[in-house]
């Protein structure tokens, strides 16, 4: 057993297996937004590590195989961004305003609240990446002096909370046009919000996907440049 637990391939395999199983659960439960496969899969692996008393470093000897593929996949995000540029161009000024001001208010309030309530700079800076889709958040968080694994956790939680809160809030305030719902879901709940927008309709989905990629691109450029101010 201990031989198996020290094998990198075992941990790489467990990650893939855990992901496939979680994907199955997600589909069988009717795609519940609070059960994204990445979250359930991660919890499965974490539980295994706890039960077998395996340190994260040992896990990463195998986890690395998958982690190393992230670079090319981040580059790939240019493809959907390019495809959405047409959809955005008709309403560009309004969308750019909503994306930049909307995302700035949510991350700055998180940053300020963390300083105020917890008083931990690493945590506050990690929270600055909460509105960016996970691969981009994980890539830029070291520049801000944050923690990659925490960033991934915050991003997913924000997405789930956003899916629960955003549409009811907008309906209550009568600001619920497809453009408004789509953009807000994309800015505040990134990929998880975009997945929900897909179920609301085609227009919502296009707006959400554009808002998500624009937010990620904007933050990926602006946050590292602003890092000297917060670190």
């Amino acid at each position: 057993m201990s031989v198996l637990l020290s094998m990198p391939l075992f941990w790489a395999g467990l990650t893939i297996g855990g992901f496939l199983l979680s994907q199955r659960v997600y589909q069988l439960t009717g795609k519940q937004p609070f059960l994204p496969p990445m979250l359930t899969g991660t919890l499965l692996v974490v539980t295994t590590l706890k039960l077998t008393d395996t340190p994260y470093d040992v896990y990463m000897t195998g986890g690395r195989y998958l982690n190393d593929l992230l670079g090319p996949v981040i580059v790939m995000l240019a493809v959907p961004l390019f495809q959405q540029l047409k959809a955005i161009s008709q309403n560009a000024v309004r969308i750019l305003l909503a994306v930049s001001l909307g995302s700035a208010t949510t991350i700055l309030s998180a940053w300020a609240l963390t300083h105020w309530w917890i008083g931990d700079a690493t945590l506050a800076n990690t929270l600055l990446t909460k509105s960016i889709t996970t691969p981009v958040a994980v890539a830029i968080v070291p520049q801000l002096g944050g923690e990659a694994s925490l960033a991934a956790g915050f991003v997913i939680l924000t997405g789930i909370i956003g899916v629960v809160m955003i549409v009811p809030m907008l309906s209550l305030l009568k600001m619920d046009s497809p453009a408004s719902k789509g953009i807000t879901l994309g800015v505040c709940a990134h990929a998880i919000g975009t997945a929900q927008a897909l179920e609301l309709g085609e227009q919502e989905a296009a707006y959400a996907a554009s808002a998500m990629t624009l937010t990620a691109t904007l933050h990926a450029i602006v946050l590292p440049l602003m890092a000297p101010l917060v670190t």
């Binding site: 893939i16 995000l77 001001l101 694994s149 907008l170 807000t184």
Partner: protein
Amino acid sequence: MSGLLILLAFLMVGTLLQHWTSAPIPAAILGMLSLLVFLLVRRRVPSSLAQTTATLAPLLPLLLMPVSVGLVTHENLIRTHGVTLLAILVISLIPGVLVCGWIMSRGK
């Protein structure tokens, strides 16, 4: 396969750009921006790249799992501040939703 080669080539471009400019922006992001410029100049996505994207995109959550598993190293922090952090995530979302919704609905 040539789609994958395009991605690796632009990741390399990004790495070189970062090395030369020592910009604080990660190499992969610079690679993404260079690929975007390439696509804008070319005005369409090469079919091999579209194919690679369709294959790789569904795997993205899997590739992010190893980083997320790193949460195990923050057990103490989650135990002490977990509830506060959750509250911060919920509360900080409200101004963002208001601003986005207001800008997108204003004057329509």
